[in-house]
Symmetry: D2
Subunit: 268 residues, 4 copies
């Protein structure tokens, strides 16, 4: 009998696999902020070939995701499988002559997402993530409306990594906040078990289709980046904080492209 | 100096208290199902003075809550404090000559909610709760629209207590599903530490204001009730399953009323 | 039919109750440190009638507990029910003319423990707690032996409340570290739902039997107390840090005693 | 500047990496049971070249681990980083002419362990794991002694996967229970992002040094294997249950060996 499955665990049916191959679909609620970090520090967190924006331009993005996969309906069907929260820092810049983003730190709160992310080159770790969820009526929560506050925070190993608050001032249609709009340049890295060189070491990009932004709300923002014990995210702490955003977002990942990296940089 | 605070921990300022006195405000997203349980079993789970509906009529309700408190803005302000998920069974019937509900089992996923609930007489335990969160756009999740599926489940100590699915068929305005609409008759019970009789043993009712139901969607439903090791909820397993509901809900609790119970039933 | 159970939820059998009445039994592994806090701050956290030691003497104690209850074998029988971790600060002093301790802040990681604690007057909240677990062999962890390090930390809502490290220097038999040895003076507080005065407001003490200390290891210690958003524990931050301890501990709680408090201090 | 780190996330220092390259050290407390599963089912879960024992011989092993890494002292130093619980099924058989084991299902409760495991070819998912922790004194828990019960269970996505109980009858020195003693034959599988063939698809074995078994206790056992929604572990449910074991264990992983697999079996 043959063991099958796109990821481990493999089984005779493939149904135990953590996840199937793309296409994967994402629908989410975003709370984000744009900010400037130290230019020299930013330069240390991008791969060869990526040119940072020059002013230390970054965004921090939280997203409450629902996700689905064409080849496994259980992912959309079980909220404990396909839904999760994500928090990531993105450095703005260019890859060759095209606008691009780079994610040096990202946290999620599900096993599926951590593995699906690592496969794409997102450097995911687990975090404890909380985000203000917009409400439709009543006085228990915040609505998407001027004057309302949306807060999001992520902690790693019991220490706060990032805490941000957006106070909405106005709706801005036809706006694509840069924190969510740039094509991302990832490093796919998977160690070998029997040698010094990685088994996989590639620059990769996701193939994105159906990118949609729903209603976009703009606001003022506050951002705090802490110093969790096992993270270096404080290197990219804000020097100044810019626009805040609250929006709905959706897209699909249908695959990706990759090119090898010379492995010398991977030695630990 | 004087220690103060509505609940423990008390401190000089009262700011360490788990929560302040009411008013408390709630805004939530509900997934619910009506069902019939065994009439004799239902009769065993209501207090003296409560008359069950006669046909074993019950509902199971999941709610994703945002909550706030007039006397502590940190509860609305911090999503890790005021937001939580809840799952409860309600038995339908009457208290005296008025329609009423009784909640024999309820699970939440936050410390604030477990303590705030016990104070009111909700018999809360911790559970791991997941609910389909409606999405606004894209293919990653379910929208509130005909044909879409909403699933919710709760587990206690790693065993599934309840798993339900609602498949929406139509919108139903001006409808108050009975699972969320009945005044609840609670038992407030707090043991003494130095005697056989409880220190508090009362029938209590919350004082509700500003009850609002948003858009209401109706659908067909499936419901599974399991047998977690430390629960007896399987006593109230469905004999037949009725209407399913997906809706938004809001109300405020401004206080409550209570009357003593003769304590003989409380001996363990 | 009569609803029964020492706590909520009550049921026809009483088997759904979160826990039964005492006796309760505890066996644990402790990592603790003695320290001095600000004398004036300490004075603000004790009830009338409790005299703090005068030098701001406190201990912070972590314990990895296994617990059992005579009237419910499921608590010892299911590790997800009876086992949990606890972290608490104790202020040293006297109650009348007898040595006593007062616990202003305490965190646990289980529902059973939070409710069992509140019933006794421990001001429990949920925390995320990690402690170095001693190992018997190999190089993966720390042994109870000179030169070995034991670390423990607790976080509340994603912020570190307390982080301590003990580096063992020697075994000390027949020693009862004061952090675990003092009788504790608690405030039992349970709000009413329909009035300004608490329903229960008492000074209480547990009745302890079978107190045993196993092998006791002494060491040097480091202690950091942080500022979680919903806590005031930073009021009691260390001015100087003293002895560290690693030990095994066991006792039983067979009940308690209580006396009413005039309620004026309880207003929130 | 060069990005470095054995795994993602890479950074200028390498200190953000989830983990460093081996050597890794492990010290743990094991609760395990030997059992027979369906011979045909077992045959479906082993890779080409692995010969199952013929009688469906398997073990299920829980372990409470403390782990360390030579190249990152923070892993031993922080109990939230290096300590975790693990639960796995092992199929007994041979690889070529040597005794060997194969792990088709394994659950852990830490991010470090899930990634470190996938790198080695362990098919790890996250689970909620509880194990009876042995106590030294008192009546709160179980000691390693005849008549005492040790229970362990793991749940995935809120459904119980495995629940086992060992009741100790006697000490057995110089015994290596087969659940922990066999060299394991893994499949290292890492998908590509831009093609049908995996980027990594290898048979791998860990290089183990310093294997030590502490005091070994034997007992009778009960074993229940459930049907979590996203797992097929019920395929390997027990037909008969054999010996139970409670023991301490330690070893080091200093690296591994690997050989490519023809990729045709990996299609999802």
């Amino acid at each position: 009998m043959t063991l099958t499955g796109w990821t481990l665990p493999q089984s005779p049916t493939g149904k135990s696999s953590m996840l199937p191959a793309p296409p994967w679909h994402y629908s989410g609620e975003v709370i984000a902020v744009d900010f400037l970090a130290d230019v020299d520090k930013v330069a240390g967190y991008v791969p060869d070939g990526f040119t940072p924006a020059g002013d230390g331009s970054c965004s921090f993005v939280f997203c409450d995701w629902a996700s689905a996969a064409d080849h496994d309906p259980r992912i959309k069907g079980d909220p404990s499988k396909g839904q999760y929260k994500e928090a990531y820092l993105v450095i703005h810049g260019a890859w060759g002559d095209r606008r691009a983003g780079r994610v040096p730190f990202i946290y999620v709160d599900s096993e599926l997402s951590i593995v699906r992310g690592l496969i794409q080159g997102f450097p995911k770790k687990l975090g404890s993530i909380h985000m203000t969820r917009p409400v439709e009526l009543g006085k228990g929560g915040s609505r998407k409306a001027p004057g309302e506050m949306f807060r999001a925070h992520v902690s790693a190993h019991g220490r706060r990594a990032v805490d941000l608050t957006v106070t909405i001032d106005e709706q801005r249609d036809k706006t694509y906040p840069k924190g969510v709009a740039a094509p991302l340049i990832h490093t796919r890295l998977w160690p070998s078990i029997d040698g010094d060189e990685p088994a996989v070491y590639e620059i990769s990009r996701g193939t994105i289709e159906g990118f949609e932004v729903g209603t976009v709300w703009h606001g003022s923002a506050e951002l705090e980046i802490g110093s969790p014990e096992h993270e270096e995210i404080a290197d990219l702490a804000p020097i100044s904080v810019g626009d805040g955003w609250v929006l709905s977002l959706a897209f699909s990942v249908t695959g990706g492209t990759s090119e090898p990296i010379a492995a010398k940089g991977a030695a630990s």
